[in-house]
């Protein structure tokens, strides 16, 4: 399974990422998920979320999750970008791409990946009030 992990304060350029997609001829399904900062956090209006990470541990924990994906589904590739620092409302903080032969495994793997991330990857958010 090919994997690509980016953890960076740079804005996520979804178009540029999608353009770099490489997909084997046996692959039938691609999912992209973008997690976008909402204008409300815990019932209060915000302007942005400031993301902090234990970056080295985050990379390690993502690698463990990618290993688990590879063991569970015939996924061809996973690319994941998590932005750190201040992410304004309406901009993505997370971008995930999964390519697989069939739709069901692409969906399952993508959801597993995000569920696991939300349990294990040491990234925290601080909402910046409006």
């Amino acid at each position: 399974m090919k994997t690509e992990l980016t953890i960076s304060t740079a804005a996520i350029n979804e178009a540029a990422l999608a353009k770099r997609r490489e997909m084997g001829k046996g692959m039938g399904a691609v999912i992209y998920f973008s997690g976008v900062v909402r204008e409300i956090e815990g019932n209060a209006p915000i302007t942005a979320i400031d993301y902090e990470a234990h970056e080295e541990m985050a990379r390690h924990q993502f690698a463990l999750i990618f290993d688990a994906v590879e063991k569970s589904w015939p996924v061809e590739s996973v690319r994941l970008v998590h932005r750190l620092g201040v992410v304004p409302v309406n901009e993505p903080s997370l971008w995930v791409e999964v390519t697989a032969p069939h739709r069901a495994e692409a969906f399952d793997a993508c959801q597993f990946l995000i569920d696991e991330m939300k349990q294990k990857v040491p990234i925290w958010k601080k909402p910046l009030p409006a």
């Binding site: 997690g35 080295e56 390690h60 997370l94 990857v121 990234i123």
Partner: protein, 77 residues
Amino acid sequence: MKFWSYFADLTGCKEAEIELSDYTTLGQVHTIVLEQFPKLAGAKNSTLKAVGLEYEDDDFVLSDGDEVSFFPPVQGG
């Protein structure tokens, strides 16, 4: 020893060193930390603990030079 996210705000400290006797467990260090930084007591049961880059249980026995992290539930995404 490192504190992450709002644990660093509560302790007023991002990084600290403590001397341990041999065979100290991660759970014992947590108890010491709570004595030193009582503001973390409210989050005691939701505290996540890592040694190096791995999550570990309270009965994990620490070695010289281990870097221990304490942090609240993660919130990536």
